[in-house]
Amino acid sequence: MSLYTAVSIILVFIALLASYRLFVGPSVYDRLVSLNVVGVIITIILILISVETDLGLYLDIALSFVMLDFVGTIALVKYLEGGEFV
């Protein structure tokens, strides 16, 4: 087992620990914070897969995932906040 696989397994368990707030969070903002952390961990795991298997394809997926995660979180926050969409 290489280093990248071990770090990926550790990060999967950390994501499971962080996703507790995603399922039983009291408010919707707790779920958003947890979703942000889980998305960042998924990005790191994609980069680790890319470095391990030497495929540059996963890096493009990671970059797209980060950008879509950011835009989706901002859109959800603007929707929940109410008022006008900028």
């Binding site: 950390i14 707790d30 958003l32 942000n36 790191i44 979180t73 006008e84």
Partner: protein, 117 residues
């Protein structure tokens, strides 16, 4: 040899920081405390893990995109934390009777009348 040691230290530090962020997210009692845990420790742990990977693989073809992801996470993490904290603060009703003019610019006149009364 020294490159391996430095990258291992950075990756271990990043894993510990991500675990700290998850633990703070799990154990803290308020939405602002959870933002405090995930906003700093999450972004810092991500930067540390990606910097460790960068040092380990050297300057190859794929390291430019890793630097791009690093810079993007470094820029967007505080923006997301600020947005969630601001939305939670507005949603909690703490800004209903105080002049918080940036919330909803259309209701500034009504707020001014309420302040006069």
């Amino acid at each position: 040899m020294i490159v391996n040691v430095i990258s291992l230290l950075l990756i271990s530090l990043g894993c510990v920081m991500m675990f700290t962020a998850a633990l703070g997210l799990l154990r803290f009692s308020d939405i602002y405390m959870r933002l405090h845990a995930s906003g700093k420790a999450g972004t810092g742990g991500t930067i540390a893990i990606l910097a460790g990977i960068l040092i380990r693989i050297g300057l190859t073809q794929i390291s430019g995109k890793i630097i791009l992801v690093m810079v993007f996470i470094l820029f967007t993490g505080p923006i997301i934390s600020h947005s969630i904290g601001r939305a939670a603060h507005v949603h909690s009703g703490a800004t209903d009777n105080v002049p918080f003019h940036d919330v909803n610019p259309d209701e500034d006149d009504e707020r001014g009348d309420e302040d006069d009364n």
